[in-house]
Chain length 648, copies 2
């Protein structure tokens, strides 16, 4: 049975791969996966991730045939069109029923699947009890050529068609993939006839569900791109329409009516017809299990239901200290003071770092490592699946893509917190970006913010990254300026919910920075910017954030004493939150209506600050004061025009 849908009508798309994978579609949606098309968000459903997202026609057709109600015939025909209401764009999107995560950028989906599998392992270890497997779903992931960690609930199906855009895979890759996956700790099963052997694929997939296995499973399916067409196995069937004649030839070979287009034979409909009812049976059985689970394990069941509802302990905000030491403190350390109790007492948070545990300071007393209980590392950090501290290794991109699997397992049941140096959020950026597109609830703690990481040199100084993350839609990039503001940053970060806001980056310093008790305001951080120090006679507004917040305060003391010039000071932790404030508030903070100039003090590339006015570099009070005086003078004389941008 082959899929030949829509391939001739769209000007682009990826028909060949979708056709080549048709057999796994039958094996997965008809025979193997436990899911319920009429209850698409059933908590314990098997999750499927299409890591090779460009072959999504394959998934759309199976969603339609299995009975997902939103996936109508008209929707299916909208594949790869520019229709804004299409559920079938060129890559699958999280907003649509039956799609767990938006995929497309290659290399991420497999890590998303790892994240989903970790969520299952963790929740199962936390909530399952003998006879009560309330969480036991499987994660299935299909990948294409090009791709290629430890969990027996993860099965990867490799669509091994040996064709990419440029030619055969051996043009760029001659590795022995089975040996490589074996060396990486996977169990490998080969399916030689990936065109017809549905039974072989189903048997391999069923092995994926076998709880006696100890390794993740890699199924290498030798498929043929564009199978059945005259261009089968050829590059041209990858990313271009097959053409009328080819589609007709495929239909003929399957005994279908070659004149009928966009037609699904009755026998195919019948073949898939039993799936919705079977799905509802899975849901019913699970629903029946819950009351018995509640009876036997009332406390655990209450917690489980609380977690499934996406709720945090109602007292979480009170776990943040209300006062902090006044000595200069690295905001990285402040961050631990702010969050350690929440991490310890709110089991929703799954915390992890890319091999920087000693530096990023995100552990808490008695925190437990997430790892297979069978593993005893040489360095002794033995873990369990109940653990909530994940050692991701030096894999920043994989860390974030895994977190993208942890976050959407089910609404706020697990909220990942990740952490590394701010500069390493550049390699991680593709996964952070797709998370922001999906508004997934992930909190990032970026340390070694600013240029304080001096002796590591420019490779570690993230001067242009603030511009990237201030420009990234749906993401709140926050630079808190002392412990009080760090506490203030966590409130919007934790209050986010899926599909309403999005991820946050809390960017903190490695070096000690002054504390501003009585000045800095925890609650004001959520407004993006606020006045830290005011004065009716001020001739200039000084703006700063994060590790530099002490600078404008120091210079604002120095200027009246030495130069008889009064300055206002604005703390500006988050551009996005400030842009969301009413214009009246924005003008009040910036005092643009009185036409006094503003100076922004930030050691990053200035891109993005222009709208608030000017920028400055060089951080001694005297040099800052000198330049500010010069600038205010030029502004008064009209040499620098109102609203004109100057880099000093």
């Amino acid at each position: 049975m082959r899929l030949t849908i829509a391939c001739t009508l769209t000007p682009s798309g990826h028909p060949g791969g979708a056709i080549g994978m048709a057999v796994f579609g039958v094996a997965l949606w008809k025979y193997t996966m436990r899911y319920a098309p009429h209850s698409p968000y059933w908590f314990n459903r098997d999750r499927f991730i299409l890591s090779n997202g460009h072959t999504c026609l394959f998934q759309y057709a199976n969603l339609y045939l299995s009975g997902y109600k939103a996936m109508t015939w008209e929707q299916l025909l909208s594949y790869h069109s520019e229709r804004l209401d299409s559920l079938c764009p060129g890559h699958p999107k999280i907003e649509h029923e039956g799609i767990e995560l938006t995929t497309g950028p290659l290399g991420q989906g497999i890590a998303n699947a790892v994240g989903l599998a970790i969520a299952t392992k963790h929740l199962a270890a936390t909530f399952n009890r003998p006879g009560f497997e309330v969480v036991n779903n499987q994660t299935w992931c299909s990948i294409g050529d090009v791709y290629l960690q430890d969990s027996n609930n993860l099965t990867v199906i490799y669509d091994n068609n040996q064709i990419t855009c440029d030619g055969s895979v051996d043009l760029t890759n001659t590795e022995d993939v089975n040996k490589k996956m074996g060396a990486c700790g996977w169990e490998v099963i080969d399916v030689i006839d990936g065109v017809n052997d549905v039974e072989g694929i189903v048997a391999a997939l069923e092995k994926g569900r076998d709880p006696k296995r100890t390794k993740p499973l890699f199924i290498n399916v030798r498929s043929i791109i564009g199978v059945g067409s005259a261009v089968a196995g050829q590059v041209v069937s990858h990313g271009a329409p097959l053409g009328k004649d080819n589609v007709a030839a495929i239909k003929k070979a399957h005994g279908w009516d070659t004149e009928k287009v966009f037609h699904i034979p009755d026998k195919v409909k019948k073949f898939y017809g039993d799936i919705p009812a079977r799905g509802e049976k899975h849901v019913r059985e699970w629903n029946d299990l819950l009351p018995r689970y509640t009876e036997e394990h009332p406390d655990l069941s209450a917690t489980f239901k609380h977690r499934m509802a996406g709720k945090l302990p109602s007292n979480w905000a009170s776990l943040i200290p209300s006062s902090f030491p006044s000595d200069p403190t690295p905001s990285c350390k402040s961050n631990n003071t702010v969050i350690a109790k929440i991490l310890a007492e709110c089991p929703t948070f799954i915390v992890g770092t890319a091999d920087l545990t000693p530096s990023v300071n995100l552990t808490w007393p008695n925190s437990e490592t997430f790892n297979p209980p069978s593993l005893t590392p040489i360095s002794g950090n033995k873990g369990s699946y109940k653990g909530r501290y994940l050692h991701y290794g030096i894999r920043e991109h994989a860390m974030e893509a895994i977190a993208n699997g942890l976050a959407p397992f089910s609404l706020r049941t697990t909220i990942p917190i990740t952490s590394t140096f701010f500069i390493f959020y550049l390699p991680a950026a593709p996964a952070v970006r797709i998370r922001a597109l999906q508004k997934l609830h992930v909190i990032h703690v970026a340390t070694h913010d600013s240029i304080g990481a001096g002796e590591d040199g420019p490779t570690h100084q993230p001067v242009e990254l603030a511009a990237l993350y201030r420009a990234m839609p749906n993401l709140e990039y926050m630079r808190p300026g002392d412990s009080e503001e760090v506490a203030g940053a966590w409130t919007p970060a934790i209050n986010h919910t899926h599909h309403t806001t999005g991820p946050s980056i809390i960017s903190v310093s490695r070096h000690a920075i002054p504390q501003l008790p009585g000045l800095a305001c925890c609650a004001a951080v959520a407004r993006g910017a606020y006045v830290l120090h005011d004065g009716a006679d001020a001739a200039v507004t000084l703006i700063a954030a994060g590790a530099e917040l002490g600078f404008p305060l120091a210079v604002a003391r120095y200027l009246p004493e030495r130069h008889n010039l009064a300055a206002r000071v604005v703390s500006f932790p988050c551009h996005k939150l400030f842009r969301e404030q009413p214009l009246s508030y924005q003008r009040e903070v910036l005092r643009r209506h009185e036409d006094i100039p503003a100076v922004v003090i930030e050691p990053y590339v200035c891109l993005g600050w222009e709208r608030y006015n000017y920028r400055y570099f060089g951080f001694t009070e005297e040099s800052m004061a000198g330049r500010i005086i010069g600038f205010v003078g030029e502004f008064g004389e009209g040499k620098v025009r109102r609203g004109e941008f100057v880099e000093l």
Copy 2:
């Protein structure tokens, strides 16, 4: 013989790895590598890349001991300090003799080494003749735990100490690295005693130089981090000072005077003392070969010397067409029209793409693929080492990191051009960033610019990437608006030289855009922005770039006809080039001195445009005109203040 330098004096740094690797230092610098400390930029030198850049103390000490003149004793003592003139920062930098490339961000150095090895293979295939091996240098690369392509002139030394920041490597990675590397096509040699077995390492390294081998070589050296100290093999010896007692213990074990600090015993100096003279002998032998090569192969030798001097054919600029078809054309296609002759006739350019050859349109007639001649891919694209078209595979980050090895082989001898969709310059960004830091001469052709890639959805729409690349220091991000401007973008891109400018991105559209003959100006692109259409009575300046350049021209025709409002139009292909113009030119282009407002039309996140004024979204002439009229009115009434930024 161990390195115990400076480990107690710096507040940070990575002593343990440097000590653990001491034995390879002896094997490489004393016994194996062909190099000349007194002629550090000798063309045919072996190249060494320290991919695990944080262990650079290891490299600095060997540069000192081998006799590099710039690496003085005082410099060595400046390790990991914040001294601005230090040659010994926390990660190695390209500016310093004996360092081929800046390394630090993990995972890139090994690809840099692949690039250097490709450069050798290509130049050797092009210029060597029987008996005249004018290019036969080796590439050596050391990597740390965590890491892990086809070339018999590349040897990777794996510093397998099994320790990372968070603990032992098995905490996060239990792969069988030898099997994995074998499966990936590498020859693997194990050195069990990586602490003392210099002879074993030298024998393995010498195998790296054996021309009879067909695979790249992976030497797995079982080293001990911080060996000899009480914290040997422990996490604490990774990134923290060893402390006085530990250093003394190591000295004692080697029979050194424990009281002397920063002291190199005479026997060590003597051991390394013959290296500069040996190096000069290598240089002399090669210098003697050149006249004989010139006699036997005069034409080839002339080309070789021309290439070594970093020269392009003197007529290169005349190879760009001076006129273009006037029909709407995708600028991706314009790009091929502009550059195909240069690619065909200037052998300096090594062109490649990450599996998007059919889409990015960067081939030329009779272009040859770079690949081992022994490889015959199924799809038939047989190559040779003389080929200049590189199929990188779907490996954007590796592509750019490999290009970072190709570029600095020797000044402009090889200039890489890479290409992929603009959105995929996000995964590639860490390698582009470190290239920009080093001002390496690489030209990127980013296709599918703008939001024209509609049906692929937001995962393929690079709305925030322009902000990142406009913020990245040393890089020219250019959006040319028609064929004429594409030609104009290539001139600054090709005229770049190492250490004076840096890389460029030429961002081109997939969809057809209007051609502007008589308006667009090739030569003006190098100024960053210029007036495309002027008018003394204009009430507004419309700014656009790239695929949207037709919009302001269309609306500037529509506004006077329908709304009696005259508009100026500015083409703005490159922020960086415009910022480098005199302020008088900038004001002339923007006409800020006459205080008429400006509207920027770009479908990207507006961050970075604020300094030039305002921004607009929604691209029909009528809707654009309506919003511009409304905005000019508000500006006239003072509702929008001068210099105030508004998103419409």
